[in-house]
Amino acid sequence: MGEFKVHRVRFFDYMPSAIRAMAFNSRTERLAVARADGALEIFNFADHYFQEKVIPGQDGRAVEALCWVGQRLFSAGLNGEITEYDLENMRPRYTVEAYGGPIWTISSNSQGTLLAVGCEDGTVKMFELLDERIRFQRNLERQKGRIISLSWHPSGTLIAAGMMDMIRIFDAETGHATHRLLVERGAGASKSKEVVVWSIAFLSDHTIVSGDSAGKVQIWDGLTGTLVKTHLVTKWDVLALAVSQDESSLVAGTSEGTVVQFQFIASTVDQQDKEWVRTRTFKNHSHDVRALAHTETAVVSGGMDTQLVVRPLLDKVEKNTQESALRKIAFPHRSLVCCAKKAGLLLFQFPDHLELWRVGESDGLGKPGDSLPVKRNPEKLIQLKRKGEDHICCSALSPCGGWLAYSTVSAVRLYRIQYNNISITKVSKLPKDLRSAHQLCFSSDSSKLFASSSHSSVVIVSLNQLECKHLHTLKPRSGSRQPVHLLFASEDGKWLAAANADCEIHVYNLHKLKLHCTVPVHSSCPTAIAIHPVTSNLVVVHADQQIFEYSLMQKEYTEWSRKLQKQGLHSLWLERDTPVTHISYSPKNPAHIFLHDMFMFCIIDQSLPLPEAKTMLYNQMTLRSLPEPERIRHSHAFKICKNFQHLLCVSLLEDHSLVVVERPLLDIMSQLPAPVRQKKFAT
């Protein structure tokens, strides 16, 4: 296979934002996750937990709670606003001011007709759900002290509110408070501190479950307003609760990073009466667990440590399957790095700025395993702060490095960069059609900019020194309303491939400016696409880790792709739990395909036999130990390298050297604030 010079880059200080809230839609199996910077992410649990949509945040938007109503998604935050999102165009649809001060919680009734929000001023405000909007209906009886948490009784007639030192039960019809449940404060010094009921759940049998800042999970009888049982689960706060749909299990997330499960079971074998019994404790977080979701088979948790953890419940899934494996989602499932191959430049995308770096140089030669002396250090050329309060959603750098573009939900900005005496000029007049983009991409000769727009359309803008002109808007025939999240322009400038969240991939002929073909739709979402510079074959990798190669000439899957499908991918390949986010080709060897996920990068050599089920997939170590002539017999098409980890980008430069952008999770951990409780030795 050969040697590679690798630029090992660790200067991308990517820092994910803490998870603040989540809501699971069990009908569509979508999980909505809100982060501290106001960004919203949609994960498709039916498709390998793929992060199919990201709505960038906005300065000042602090989402405190999320709520699905059917397919509609609402959020509320400390800015006092309720926001509904447009999941097709990936932007807030509208925002309604609740006029009750900061909003702590939002909850809809099971009928999907009313939305209740809990406000700082002590009111619970009811909003009517209309087709296009929401409308304020009325306030429930105003209380002293803020409303921290809300939960509707499934019948829709009662609503429980968690407050400071107490829980109130309201009659949703009359708006009057019917019960007042006093929550005991913590012992000792915290006796003088008000206890905050962070989370509450109202079950159909009128049981109320509360989690509070004194570390208690309490079970109440909602009919009589009496305390049934107290479980002290932590010394710190119980921040989140989530109940399974059948109300047989509930989980509580704590500041210690633990998730405690309770189950509604008979505590002794021969006993008929069921009660809530503490059963399991999971510790997958180092910091506060702020948000929880209880799916049918798993507990989903997230918090300060920024990772989304899917913890399957082993009594609900088959053991030792992929489904039973713990999954941690640490990185976004899309690329935040753009590499200008010809210029050796890297563009890093942050929510509020962009960084343009030039990789270093070395003229030395070395043996495999060596570190070469760095002759020229990498250099940060430009740090570009975004304009406006909307966060950056996508960015691109032209292969020559001369053009830079980024987009927010409100605007696209294009810049011209000169390197002889580094300067950056904003292109002032952009075509009107280029208002906002979900994905940006430059043609290989840097003469065109492609921007994915609403309803899967792609806007083509021609670039030259003098002006930027709208050339054409490509539209798929399918009429899909989903956004395009992947774009790839072929090396020869003839083809443009665009993949959308409906799993469709459309290939356009740029010479004729019309749709060339649509790749047969696979059930799983594409995570990376690329067109071969020589053969014009399109390679697609999906969220389910399947790899397809489609010949654009023949408009059919290639021989190699068929062989791969027939034989099937190696089980270890399929068991990987992070998606491939980038594909590139080697100009030297057309048979080589470079791709990477978070934990490895792989060179697929199409000229070699595919690995069979029984062969070792990760065989680099074995091959290394074998003498040269024997290697041939043992080698297969998948050359997997795990030397570099927590990868954000692997790309091949024109001089055949690799750029590897690493962001070790430990580095991210080290930048987090100190957790409330650190594990000490021998404790």
């Binding site: 296979m1 050969g2 040697e3 590679f4 010079k5 690798v6 630029h7 090992r8 880059v9 660790r10 200067f11 270093g360 070395s362 070395g366 043996k367 495999p368 395993g369 060596d370 570190s371 070469l372 760095v374 250090n377 990498p378 060179i603 680099q620 091959l623 290394r624 290697r631 080698s635 050359k639 390298c641 030397n643 030795f681 021998a682």
Partner: protein, 631 residues
Amino acid sequence: MAALYEGYTLCGLVPAQTLPNSGIQGVETERDSDHVIVTDSTRSVTLYKVSDQKPLSSWTVKQGQTLTCSAVYSSQSKEFVAVSDSKVIRIWKEEDILLDKAFKATVSADVWRVHCVPEGEPVVLFQRGAVRLLDSLLSAPQQPIEEVLAQEEAIRWSTNILAESKQFVIFTTEQKGDHFLYLQRLNPNTLQRYRLEREEPGLSPLSFSASYRDNHIRLLYLYPNGHVYQSVVSMRGLGADEGAQALPLPRNLLLGLPVGEGLLEAASALVLDEAHVAVVGVPHPSAGAGKDFLCIWNTNFQTLQAGKEMAGKIYGQLWGYSNKLFIPHGKTLSVIPYECPKSSLAAALGKLKQAKTEGELTQIWSTATPSRTVETRKTVCWITDNFIIRKHFQFLIQMAPVEEVQKEVEGLLSRADIQDLQASLGQLASTLVSRSLADPAFYTPSTLAQLVHTQSLCHSVCPDLVLLALEKKDYFLCQLCLQFFPDIPEAVTCACLKLHRNEVLRTPYSDTFLLPHLKDLSSQQVVLFLQYLQFLYLKYSQDASTQMHGLRSPSLTQIMDWVCLLLDAHFTVLVMTPEAKGLLLNLHCFVKSQVRLVSELGKIEGSLQELNKMKVKKDVGQYSIEVIELF
């Protein structure tokens, strides 16, 4: 190492000058280890509190009557039992003042002894071998007593042992020069008879001692020729075939004690524990022909552990109860406390750690003493061979001039079977030493050095050698001794210490014994020594490589041990000495910093272990250009 401590007198003796006995029939324990009953050979029984060295009570039988066996104390009934005039059993309590008013019963046969083990019932052994429990005997005192022994067979010695909660009466008999061992078990009664192997014609055992350990009764007996044998009788299968037929009793030679000229007359060997035997009436191997010594020998390594000269005549009597030996000698009954620490090889040989010498050392004595199954004939050969050499050299050394002695010894040392002659070499060395000591003109350093070089000698064989070398200021010989002798007593080490510095530090020692001798050093010497140790320590701790080169230099731990020992011994003195103040402060600071360092080290130990477990990952920093190869 076992040790004999300073003894004290329990009571005076009134021995008949013409008789060979001490006038004491027996010493038996009373309620606890601090109380003993002493029965004299005529009329009185006295109860002593040992630690107070004073009698608590005394009882006497009427004039004309004699006590024929030593009184025993039954802890069950809190009564004393004795026999007068062989047939009258007397029982009394401590508060009884007059013995004549106490209980007595006359039995139908002559009593040999009454025995009683603590927590056991008194047992009466009749002269003809019958055994009765005291209670059953007293229920019908005139009951007929059977004869167990044959005609002309007489009891020589008896004891009583509690083994596996069964009482045993053990006694030995003699019949026409043959010796027999009887094991009488009580409840149920069984009797087993063994025949002891014959020693050289005409030799009868001088003393017996029995002990019970690990399901076996061990009988130890000493012959006048100095041989100590052990016979082991298993408790298993005992009484399975009861019969008059005497089984042969196998024996091992445990020790071959030096007897000097002639045979032993009044001597006794007593088992102290599994590895130690106390012997009285046998000459000290290095002290000439005098037999009035009390010695403790280690039977595992055949080394002399401690010795003490007893003033006055030795009667060959010896009793031992709870770390005290009771020995009548001259005109006193002395109590000598002793200590036998757990016997390991290291303990037996001092604080010895080098495995190499260990092997050699066991060899020294195991070759000197024929192994346990060696046939008698071979032993005889060996003895004669040694004997000839000994005679020859003794004569030679006592008379001949230095040159001739040197020549002869060289000739002897070049002999091939030198290993077999180790005992004689010891003898030879000690004779040389004693002549050197006696005759200031006579000194053969090279010969002695050669002898030491054979590694056949140890300190217990010729204890004066080191002192001689010191006296002659022969440091070379001294060093050799320190190097090769495993068992130099701490007192001698201290003597060397006054003269020498590194070799001493490397000699094995046991701090308990060294400590009192260290106290003999003057404060100036101590300060100097401490300064030197500190210098050594600093030198070695700064440069570890010096230690690697000089293999003969003491290790850091040895230095530290010595510093601790010195401070232990002289701390109060040093505190008062002004010139030691700086040194002490230095050491104090040093220890303080060490303690702090160690505690800090302890803290990071865990983290370091974790680090160790982690894969070594080199820090790649923010950016690097690397070369990888894919296959």
